[in-house]
């Protein structure tokens, strides 16, 4: 098995999971975030099951020096909470709460979810590109909590 095929299968599983769990529906996401309204706890079950299944994978991987079909593990190297993480997560959360879309669901559904999904996706890609352009001007090492 090569890395391209692995990534394809992984993407297929991820996309299927988003549809089966109905996370492609922004309304369902907002109904989870709306704790004081007609609360729908489904998203917590999605995340809970996903974290458990992923944790099994990470636990199995700990016994290995390298992945099955790649020379090395390439994961996050940062360990400290910094201002970028805090500010970025707050900005992301605000945008997520405005519409109910995060990156996975909008990508998984934009081909058949209508114009609003396409508009959100384009704006999201512009936002990501804006980060890549401004990255070097943004403070990198501030206080670590």
């Amino acid at each position: 098995m090569n890395r391209t095929l692995i990534a394809l299968v992984s993407g297929l599983l991820f996309g299927l999971g988003l549809v089966v769990s109905q996370m492609v529906n922004p309304e369902k996401v907002l109904n989870f975030l709306d704790v004081s309204g007609n609360w729908d706890p489904s998203l917590a079950f999605v995340m809970g099951a996903a974290v458990l299944a992923a944790a099994l994978g990470f636990t199995l991987a700990k016994r290995r020096q390298a992945p099955l079909y790649a020379p090395s593990f390439s994961g996050p190297t940062k360990t400290k909470v910094d201002a970028r993480l805090v500010v970025g997560s707050l900005i992301f959360g605000t945008g997520w709460g405005l519409v109910g879309y995060c990156p996975g669901p909008v990508l998984a559904s934009f081909l058949w979810a209508g114009a609003p999904a396409v508009v959100f996706l384009v704006a999201m890609l512009v936002g990501m590109a804006a980060f890549s352009i401004t990255d070097k001007y943004l403070p990198r090492r501030t206080k670590s909590a």
Binding site: G57, P67, F73, I91, V99
Partner: protein, 140 residues
Amino acid sequence: MDNFTPVSAAVGGALIGLSVALLWLASGRIAGISGIIGGLIKPQSGEVGWRIAFLVGLIGAPLVYAIIQGAPPLSIEAGYGTLILAGLLVGFGTRLGGGCTSGHGVAGLARLSRRSITATGLFLLAAALTVFLARHVFEG
């Protein structure tokens, strides 16, 4: 809670977790959507093909599902101005914060990363506060 769907949520979630587990175990990469796209905006040699393959799967599986079963129901309340603002915030914020619901919220929590636990708490808090303000204060 009449709209609560625990079984499909857990099954779908398990598929997402399986995806994350597979990509890490077999390929040593984190299945974080914002990071995967970010790596295509600033491409590095040898790190492009797998990202495109992942996205083909991510987009392809729901497309095939929609063709066979019909598109699943979805509803978007926001107008175009809000959609554009929200998209910009999600795009910029996920890159600045180093991850989104998948990279921090699934993979990071599964690894018990302190950064990801912090990020997930903060983006859930900001999102819930935004929904509260939008639905119960300004729309009241």
